[in-house]
């Protein structure tokens, strides 16, 4: 690691102002200029580093500038590398990386929308987070009050690109969909049945979440974290708590780490099981879905027994978890998972034995390895397309350090393999829960309350069931937050859906979409 920093200093001495490490798990490098391109290019080319996320912060009042943060990961190094890049308040521009790195396309545009900074040279600088009919506001700037009432919106929410040609037509879908799912707009261009081009309009459920974090006291904000994406309540809550614990230097007790691990895996199990059922239903195999939904119900009932809430809400807490488990609850986990796993095997065997189902799922909605890498796809969708990432293994947290983890990775990138990754991971999760319970130490389940100092920054990463969840915080005075950045894996993966559906027939769109099952609320916040 030291030689790495020496090399960095040697090459970019003038550009690097300082190194600092506020927390275990991340090293920050403060740059002196706003041009991150040379050093980002070097990290990618020489060290194979992956750009995890890009986000901004308004520091105009205290420091007269904005910061952009570029978070890199270089496996197998467990530490994240964060480039902190100043952008002067009187010249609000930063060079765009989106031309070379499509995975930051949306994220840079978010920075434009939220902060009024300009991503110079962006290939498609249109709005992404704010709809076209919003007035010219930048809600995450500190001089924008959260309660500001905006005038009634007029005009189109988004102008779609025209798709022209003989026999080419468009199908608009949403934001209110036919199923019981979240709102978003899909604009399909078709020639006959095959999809030529899909345009997405997201952010219908944008509810000011990141701004709201800046107003809530930290201990209440845990509940806001639970409401970022309902099916990932516990993962987001843990990601948030870990960030606060990192900022405040709080060590969680060993028992809490194991309990968090168990619940993170239960969240993965119930969502993966529901998704497998939903994939089956989208190709007409409803019986399989009924079994899957029944199995999911077993796990959410277990969730309720363990936490008082079917979606594991009200359990995460800064410093650990809110309640302990007694031996009856621990027995209930083992008993439920034993029955569950046997039934889950039956479910997968049922689906695998149906030739018509396989026929619809195999080679459908292929996301190639090259495209997945270029778009920075993470999580289940990434692992089905050769992207070997898993935060649990690469940046262990909770009790994952002591767990040997098998990460399923396939190159086929079709719906079938996205389902296969889920199925493999469910078995792996059951095993992890069993192993974690074997090592469950006695003792406290939450660290004693201690003050959370202001002015600290920390980042945390959690492998939610969808993929990599990132939270970054800067604490403020009186246990408040000055900034909370949330990156749901869905934000990386939506553009990949566009690639995966191309050339497929429109009737396969629902199953392809379901095989990604991305969060709208997590994306829109």
């Amino acid at each position: 690691m030291n030689s790495f920093f020496q090399e960095l200093r040697g090459r970019f001495g003038g550009l690097i102002r300082s190194f600092h490490s506020d927390q275990a798990g991340a090293i920050s490098i403060l740059l002196s200029g706003s041009d991150v391109r040379p050093i980002a290019g070097f990290l990618r080319a020489e060290y194979g580093a992956r750009l995890v996320t890009v986000f901004a912060e308004d520091r105009v009042e205290p420091e007269g500038l904005f910061y952009n943060y570029y978070v890199f990961e270089q496996r197998p190094n467990p530490q994240f590398l964060i480039l902190q890049v100043p952008i002067p308040a009187d010249d609000r521009r930063f060079p765009s990386l989106a031309e070379d790195l499509p995975n930051v396309n949306w994220q840079e545009r978010e920075i434009q929308d939220w902060f009024g900074l300009e991503a110079a040279g962006h290939p498609n600088p249109r709005r992404v987070a704010l709809h076209d009919n919003w007035p010219d506001v930048h809600p995450l700037c500190k001089d924008f009050p959260i309660d500001q009432v905006l005038p009634p919106f007029e005009g189109e929410q988004h102008v779609y690109r025209p798709t022209l040609g003989e026999g080419v037509f468009q199908i608009p879908v949403g934001p209110v969909h036919a199923g019981i799912i979240e709102p978003g707009h899909f604009n399909f261009a078709l020639a006959g049945e095959p999809i030529l081009y899909l345009q997405l309009r997201m952010f219908y459920t944008h509810k000011g979440t990141e701004k709201l974090f800046e107003r809530l006291p930290i201990r209440r904000a845990v509940f806001l974290a639970e409401s970022i994406s309902g099916d990932s309540s516990f993962s987001h809550a843990v990601a948030f708590c870990q960030a606060i614990e990192g900022a405040a230097g709080i060590e969680i007790p060993a028992r809490a780490a194991v309990m968090r691990t168990v619940m993170l895996e239960l969240e993965r199990i119930y969502n993966h099981t529901a998704d497998i059922g939903a994939i089956a239903t989208d190709v007409g195999f409803v019986v399989a879905n009924m079994h899957a939904a029944r199995l999911r119900e077993m796990i959410v009932a277990l969730n309720e027994e363990l936490t008082g809430n079917r979606l594991l809400r009200g359990m995460a807490s800064v410093g650990g978890v809110r309640r302990d488990w007694d031996s009856a609850q621990i027995r209930a986990i083992r008993r439920a998972l034993e029955i569950f796993e046997k039934e889950f095997r039956d479910l997968i065997a049922l689906i695998a034995s149906s030739d018509s189902t396989r026929d619809r799922l195999e080679r459908t909605g292929i996301l190639s390895v090259e495209k997945a890498r270029a778009l920075g796809v993470v999580g289940v969708a990434g692992r089905a397309s050769g992207v070997d990432l898993d935060v649990r293994r690469d940046h262990p947290y909770a009790a994952y350090r002591g767990v040997e983890l098998r990460v399923p990775v396939y190159d086929a990138g079709d719906v079938w393999h996205r389902m296969q990754v889920r199925s493999d991971e469910v078995h792996e999760s059951v095993r992890i829960v069993g192993a974690a319970l074997d090592t469950l130490p006695s003792g406290p389940w939450c660290a004693p309350p201690q003050p959370i100092p202001g002015g600290r920054c920390a980042m945390s990463a959690v492998e939610g069931w969808r993929g990599e969840i990132i939270h970054w915080v800067r604490t403020g005075p009186g246990e408040s937050l000055e900034r909370c950045k949330i990156k749901d894996p869905s934000l990386n993966n939506w553009p990949a859906l566009v690639e995966a559906v191309e050339g497929n027939i429109i009737a396969d769109f629902p199953v392809i979409n379901k095989s990604f099952n991305l969060s709208y609320s997590g994306t829109d916040r």
């Binding site: 309540s233 029944r294 936490t307």
Partner: protein, 284 residues
């Protein structure tokens, strides 16, 4: 084919018969918090920890008004942890009401010098309940929609938690079709809109258009703390607040999210097949 049938027979019937039989609610489930107002020595800690402002305290000199709003409650149980036994978490979940005010009540206290509650002066019950103007209408709705109800679900800005529980209504455990209730793909085929989420500025128009597209007679049910009141998100630059800020609401179902039986209860209350249980009851 035989494998499928064999598995089905092995599994047997898993459907529960709520509401004919009471729901099987596990002992750890957190439902409605109950307030022993006479024994509540200090309301401030509960108001302090409440993540959504469901418990609010307003002091004027040595008088205090405590307002409790089940419509904002996310059932986290923090109020019970800091109230020394005056607040207990019950397992009640059938909290759907026809008027928003039925979820709210206030208690007025005289205060000690140190700011603790000295004595309970009065409890203000919400309006509504007995003198309910919607009763006749619901009779009509029941005769028209009671036995076969088509629902269009609208996510107007939810976190997706409520959707998970609404989807669960279609699973074999809750199987809402046994009650003649099913979900439809278009508002034009719907009798009821089941609306979740704090309504976002970006969904305001879509929700209005969906409402207008639904034929009369129609019923609107607001689901979850966010749909009922705006929840933890409240009103901000990106949100409008609860569903009734945009379209008229007939029934409110609290919860974060409401469990499937709570949804069934609320839907059946909306069409007059079940009675509302909560009558602005403060507790013991």
């Amino acid at each position: 084919m035989f494998k499928i049938l064999r598995k089905t027979f092995e599994t047997g019937i898993v459907t529960r018969s709520y509401p004919e039989r009471p729901a099987q609610v596990c002992t750890n489930f957190r439902g409605r918090p109950e307030f022993d107002l006479g024994q509540w020595s200090d309301s401030r800690p509960a108001a302090e920890v409440c993540p959504t402002g469901a418990i609010r305290v307003q002091d004027t000199g040595l008088a205090r008004q405590v307002t409790i709003d089940y419509g904002r409650c996310v059932f986290c149980g923090l109020c019970a942890e800091v109230s020394g036994g005056a607040v207990t978490v019950t397992r009640e979940f059938e909290l759907a009401v026809q008027q928003r005010g039925d979820l709210v009540f206030s208690a007025e206290y005289a205060l000690n010098q140190d700011g603790t509650n000295q004595s309970l002066v009065r409890i203000t019950q919400p309006a509504g309940g007995q003198n309910d103007p919607g009763r006749n209408l619901r009779r009509t709705v029941h005769s028209v929609l009671g036995r076969s109800l088509a629902i269009r679900e609208v996510d107007a800005g939810s976190c997706n938690g409520c959707e998970l529980e609404i989807v669960a209504l279609n699973n074999p455990v809750y199987d809402m079709e046994r009650l003649g209730i099913h979900f439809v793909a278009s508002p034009r085929h719907a009798d009821m809109l089941l609306v979740t989420g704090v309504v976002t500025r970006n969904m305001e128009q879509a929700l209005l258009k969906t409402y207008r597209a639904t034929p009369e007679p129609k019923v609107v049910v607001a689901v979850g703390a966010c749909g009922v009141s705006g929840g933890i998100f409240g009103v901000n630059y990106a949100t409008v607040g609860g569903v009734d800020r945009v379209v008229p609401v007939d029934v409110y179902i609290p919860g974060c999210p409401p469990r499937p039986e709570a949804l069934i209860h609320g839907i059946l209350v909306a069409v007059g097949r079940l009675a509302q249980k909560l009558e602005g009851r403060p507790g013991r």
